[in-house]
């Protein structure tokens, strides 16, 4: 696969070129923080950020996504009482500057939307329309902010600052240029379309990347222990006595789940206005009481401790057991940084991993 190094001066030009073939999305600072948005003409992705406030999961899993619409107006004979699929834009998109943790996160999410039994066409089509161009978390001059940040624990969560899973190409921001390494055919195609004039001594550049990768990994000094989770007895963990104390501060706000790249839960809602209506997918969260409320009025997770336990058991035990693919967390640290009361998944994970039931 192609590895190239381009001058920073040529970057903006390449981005403009790319916009002819893709809709281009990238990090952009609005208000106090960075979010992913579609880049306008002449706008390059702002790569000087720690991580975006929200994960870019909404690009293919929007917070609210209309899927079907209907009409009840008897005067419209051809449409009345017919449910129609909402047409969407699945044209090629490129997302530039996604962090490796987010890209890996989506590979953990995929089995939920795309498996032998069920395929969610909306998720799959949207995801597959995207070319993921990652940005390694390395420290460079123009990113004095300093990646990785101190609440990143990706290396012990099955990921890492240069992790390639889920990416089509990886950008490494160095002092004197961007090294871009294609990882899939989609990534190669992206590079070709950008028509960047570039130095491409693949061996030298790969060696370069490997050195920076090692340096970045060494900077990570926050870790979780996950090695014993799989062997724990599920019901032991479920009935463990630490949940009460750990959940005390939680206000069940759901922030942790909304900002998380691996949280996938959604609800289906119908909204009707006059003679027409729409059915849509809507993010949901296990932290909310409504999440499990039955039509009968019974709620199997009616208390905070039950909801709190669900989030961590799902990510750190049920997922581990069901998919045998590590934990459902990539260590991006967003939930830790944005929790208003400082619930820290690293702490909970370590408590779970070391938990021994009283004999």
């Amino acid at each position: 696969m192609k590895v190239v190094k381009i001058d920073k001066e040529n970057w903006a030009e390449g981005i403009e070129k790319i916009k002819e073939s893709y809709k281009v999305f990238g990090p952009s600072k609005s208000k106090e923080f960075h979010l992913f948005k579609e880049l306008e003409k002449g706008e390059a992705p702002d790569l000087n950020f720690l991580n975006t406030r929200l994960s870019p999961k909404s690009m293919f899993f929007p917070q609210s996504e209309g899927i079907l619409c209907y009409c009840l107006d008897p005067n419209k004979k051809d449409e009345c009482n017919i449910v129609k699929e909402i047409q969407k834009d699945y044209s090629p998109k490129a997302i530039i500057g996604i962090r490796p943790c987010d890209a890996k996160a989506f590979t953990l999410v995929r089995p939920n939307f795309d498996n032998e039994e069920y395929q969610d066409p909306y998720w799959i089509k949207a995801y597959d329309s995207i070319t993921f161009i990652g940005l390694a978390c390395s420290n460079t001059d123009d990113s004095k902010k300093g990646m990785p940040c101190s609440s990143c624990f990706c290396t012990s969560a099955g990921c890492g600052p240069f992790n390639e899973e889920g990416l089509d190409a990886l950008i490494v921001n160095t002092d004197d240029g961007y090294i871009i390494k294609a990882l899939t055919n989609k990534g190669e195609e992206f590079l070709n379309k950008a028509e960047l004039s570039a130095n491409s001594n693949a061996d030298e550049l790969t060696a370069n990347i490997n050195t920076l990768k090692k340096q970045a990994e060494e900077k990570i000094n926050s870790f979780v222990e996950t090695d014993k989770l799989k062997d724990k007895i599920l019901l032991d963990l479920h009935s463990a006595n630490f949940w009460d104390d750990e959940c005390f501060a939680c206000i069940n706000c759901g922030t942790c789940t909304y900002v998380c790249p691996t949280c996938w839960c959604f609800d289906i809602q119908d909204e009707n206005y006059g003679d027409s209506g729409v059915r849509f997918k809507q993010w949901d969260s296990c932290m909310y009481p409504l999440f499990t409320l039955h039509g009968s009025g019974h709620n199997p997770r009616s208390t905070k401790v039950q909801r709190f336990r669900q989030r961590f058991m799902h990510k750190l035990k049920y997922y581990v057991d069901k998919y045998d693919n590590g934990i459902q967390c990539v260590g991006c640290g967003r939930c830790i940084r944005l929790c208003p009361v400082n619930i820290d998944i690293r702490k909970i994970c370590n408590i779970m991993n070391s938990y021994e039931p009283a004999a």
């Binding site: 208000k31 300093g146 005390f248 940084r337 400082n342 690293r346």
Partner: protein, 315 residues
């Protein structure tokens, strides 16, 4: 305020040992700079875990309700006003509480601190009036007064309104503060400017409801946004539904909001949700001469009818 720590521990330990309370609700040290975690202490020997500094902004009154124990709570000015509101609204009885009153000098806004430095903050240490901020590249000392949460910088009720014991002498309340400058700025806008202002304000709202959940006033068993039979508000990201949530939340807090800032502090998107509640607070002062949580003897104005209630704003 870090000077209060020993006294807080001493009182907490004593009232636990004497059996005056079964638990203490306070804060323990958090895992990130400028973050503490609300916690409950059940045994006298665990009192050592309690901390108190300028990062205890989340309102603890949230944690009092629906508990059976006798509760000791470490409460700053605004917390005690929310306790008063709770008592008046029959959410809790004073007898269930032992209030450890904290004369407060204000809580730090971590976003403000972050905006003063250009790389990640690794460590923050607090002195009486300054904080030392260590980043990956640098170390600087900043004045606490420049870093206060907006509500704290205009707070004139720093002293506890009700308490069983104080951790320190009452402090002098600030004078000559224009508490409503931000509201007046919006009031002076044209209708269109106002519209744009609020549209921009909530443009990044993800409807996580952290603002609602961090507020001690929001204790309805089922919030109107969660009600599904009938469903009052759409669940999606439709703008009118987001607005509806914000407007109604604010109105539910009218005459009850103590401007503790918990809502704003909790918002992951940095939305200044107090812009809504602050206007209602101002209206309550101007129309009813009312400030929330200052007395146990009266109910909030929207709860009550008085013959001399103003009505010239009703159309």
């Amino acid at each position: 305020m870090i000077g209060y720590m020993d006294k807080i521990k001493e009182i907490s330990e004593r009232i636990l040992k004497e059996g005056k309370v079964d638990i203490i609700v306070g804060f323990r040290k958090g895992s990130l700079p400028m973050m503490n975690e609300p916690c409950v202490v059940k045994k006298a020997e665990d009192v050592k875990n309690l901390v108190w500094d300028s990062n205890c902004g989340i309102n603890l009154v949230n944690y009092l309700t629906n508990r059976k124990e006798k509760i000791g709570i470490i409460a700053k000015g605004c917390d005690t006003r929310n306790i008063v509101t709770h008592i008046v609204e029959n959410k809790i009885k004073k007898e269930q509480l032992f209030i450890i009153g904290v004369p407060c000098t204000g809580m730090i806004d971590k976003n403000k601190v972050a905006s003063k430095v250009d790389s990640e903050i690794i460590e923050v240490t607090e002195n009486e009036n300054t904080i030392k901020v260590k980043t990956k590249t640098n170390e600087i000392e900043l004045n606490k007064t420049d870093l206060l949460q907006e509500n704290c910088s205009i707070c004139v009720h720093r002293n506890p309104v009700v308490y069983d014991e104080l951790v320190a002498e009452l402090i002098e309340e600030p004078k000559d503060i224009d508490r409503y400058a931000s509201v007046k700025a919006v009031e002076s806008m044209s209708a269109e400017e106002k519209w744009n202002y609020f549209e921009d304000l909530i443009s990044t709202c993800i409807r996580c409801y952290a603002c609602r959940n961090a507020c001690p006033l929001c204790y309805c068993p089922t919030c109107f946004v969660d009600e599904s039979r009938p469903q009052w508000v759409g669940k999606g990201q439709d703008k009118s539904d987001i607005r509806t949530f914000h407007f109604l939340r604010a109105f539910h807090c009218a005459g009850r909001c103590t401007d503790c800032g918990s809502c704003e502090r909790a918002c992951p998107m940095g939305i200044k949700v107090r812009d809504f509640t602050k206007k209602l607070e101002k209206d309550c002062v101007e129309l009813f001469g009312w400030e929330a949580g200052m007395t146990l003897k009266e109910r909030p104005p929207l709860d009550e009818f008085k013959l001399n209630d103003p009505e010239d704003f009703i159309y």
